[in-house]
Amino acid sequence: MAKKKVFQISNALTEGLEETVTAAHNYNGELRVEIIPLKKIELDPENPRDLILTFEDLYNGIDKGDKNYLRKLSEKNSLLSLSNSIKDQGIINPILVYKHGNKYRLVAGERRTLASILSDKSDIQAKILDSKPTELKISLLQWVENVERKDLSLWERLKNLEKIIYSYSTGQNIPLDEITATNLSHLLGCSLPHAMNYIAVLTADNKLKTLIQHNQLKNLEKAALLATIQSQSTKDTAIEACLAGATLKKLKGILNQEKQSKSILKQPIILKGRGRQATFVNLGTTKKVQVAKLIIDSILDNAKVTHLKPHFSELNWSDYKSINHAFKQLLETLEQIEA
């Protein structure tokens, strides 16, 4: 007897539709661009700066008596060509700010802002956030913006994702290897299968990653499929077929032949280290303040950083947040010293 015919909307299309709706819900309003007066923009005192030139220096002229006069002057000169192009065409990428009282604090776009002031503009295009964004939020915004750009390579998207996962892991205090595809799908506002594909590719071995990096492997689904093949010989065959232009269907065929029936793609995948090059060390978490204190004090005994001791003398040891913050800064300082 003939099988009853069932018509189905393809998985790819279903996934695309679902992702689109979720993303629209998660990110509506996030990329709105408005034109704001330059006078209302201020620097965020908590953010490190590359330049020492201030907005006032540009509005009022650099004070000749300023001990940094020469450096500021050269910084100003270095902005001239950008400023000329802004005079002609305006800025290409809006700056990113967040609301702070009746002012806007700068998150990204310091040079663009300074150059706009220099070009005698009175306002600037800006994306406005309601509050100070976390690192995670900033990388997510980059993600949302970038996925709209079709010219972004898979490799560039992966690099961006690594940043997101890393900031999520540190921000939430979740060890990297416990971040699941479900977490990722919520973060990105994409479907679970899509997130699984990303995680599979992020944990791929170096050979695959090199192919992706050199843009020989461009398709996420294919890359994810290849990444999850266990047997090395099957994998090599499949990679070869893929480079020769095999379709996703054909690649799946190769896999099935090898009876990889419990395809990892079907189960939630955890970002496990297998084969993946770790790019940073996670120093773990503790609930015990004494332990944290012991670690920090021991580090501070090291000659390279003893000079930082006074900074920690006022640390509030009963507040986890301040300890986290202090330790993070200590790590950053150490990274700079060792760089």
Binding site: K5, V6, F7, Q8, I9, L13, T14, G16, L17, E18, T20, V21, T22, A23, A24, H25, Y27, N28, G29, E30, L31, R32, V33, V144, E148, S191
Partner: protein
């Protein structure tokens, strides 16, 4: 505030024009709302239902609106007597045409001028095209003259469709329950999403939903509709009303059709009931503020 509803999907033959007509006549005839209709499609079908369109002597196959009834050649020296929505792209005056239905006014298409706007590729010009309809509809003269504005769009994802979406407060996606049509839905959801990113939270473009159209009692249609209703998030945007394939929806468009509008049919007529229910659903959604909507997230 004036509500602006756009019917869009980049596939042709889905029912954009049909739905624009039905909504417009529902608003004007049944609800008595001051209604403006705008035809952004160079094919000018929507316009042709309400005013005489003439062949463009300069561009073969193109259509232009007939001379405006208010035109007086003895006094109007600056004006050639025709006006279309495409004028907004040329910095020219826009004068709505009255229609046989009181309460219903039309800004018709002009094939060639709209095609020129649609063909724009240069970045800075493109941006102007994208924002021009929005700017025009934000004029207080326009706002204060109408309760509802209904826009029909060309079967594309190009500048004219984008301009309509940027101008709209609400969007309706009419779609057949067939393969290419679902792909058309995908394309429109992308535009909607993109637009929602760039709008402030209190000024969002609201997706009323997908209106299944030309539905027949066949497995394909049933399965596709069920498929859409099962998709996470998407299901909230499948309208709980369906338009079946019926000859009357096409017949009513013929020039000397009698009755002229679906809403002139008796209230017991099944086709009228069906489309009126869909229009009622859409307009209720448009006029209730979107807050009580619950997303199964």
């Amino acid at each position: 505030m004036t509500k602006i509803i756009v019917n869009a999907t980049h596939k042709g033959g889905e029912g954009k024009t049909t739905n624009s007509i039905m909504l417009a006549e529902y608003c004007a005839l049944i609800k008595g709302l001051k209604t403006l209709i705008i035809d952004m499609d160079p094919q000018a079908n929507f316009s042709g239902r309400y005013i005489q369109m003439e062949y463009d002597p300069a561009y073969r196959g193109g259509k232009i609106p007939a001379i405006h009834p208010d035109f007086d050649p003895t006094t109007d020296h600056e004006w050639d007597g025709r006006s279309s929505i495409a004028n907004i792209f040329y910095g020219e005056e826009v004068i709505p045409y009255p229609t046989a239905i009181s309460n219903l006014e039309l800004l018709p298409a002009h094939s060639h001028k709209l095609q020129e706007a649609e063909a724009v590729t240069k970045n800075d010009v493109l941006e102007k095209v994208h924002l021009q309809l929005k700017r025009f509809l934000e004029l207080s003269d326009v706002r204060s003259s109408y309760d509802v504005i209904i826009i029909d769009t060309p079967p594309s994802k190009g500048p004219l469709t984008i301009a309509a979406i940027k101008a709209a407060t609400h969007i309706v996606i009419p779609a057949q329950m067939e393969q290419f049509s679902i792909e058309g839905i995908y394309g429109m959801l992308q535009l909607w999403k993109q637009e929602s990113y760039y709008r402030t939270k209190d000024n969002q473009i609201e997706l009323i939903g997908i209106l299944p159209n030309q539905v027949r009692d066949i497995k394909l249609h049933k399965h596709f509709l069920e498929g859409l209703k099962m998709m996470k998030g998407v299901s909230d945007y499948v309208m709980p009303r369906v338009i079946k394939k019926r000859a009357i929806y096409t017949e009513i468009l013929v020039e000397d059709a009698n009755p002229k509008s679906i809403f002139d049919l008796p209230k017991t007529n099944i086709a009228r009931q069906e489309y009126e229910a869909a229009c009622q659903y859409i307009m209720e959604r448009v006029f209730t503020y979107g807050k009580e909507k619950s997303f199964s997230n």
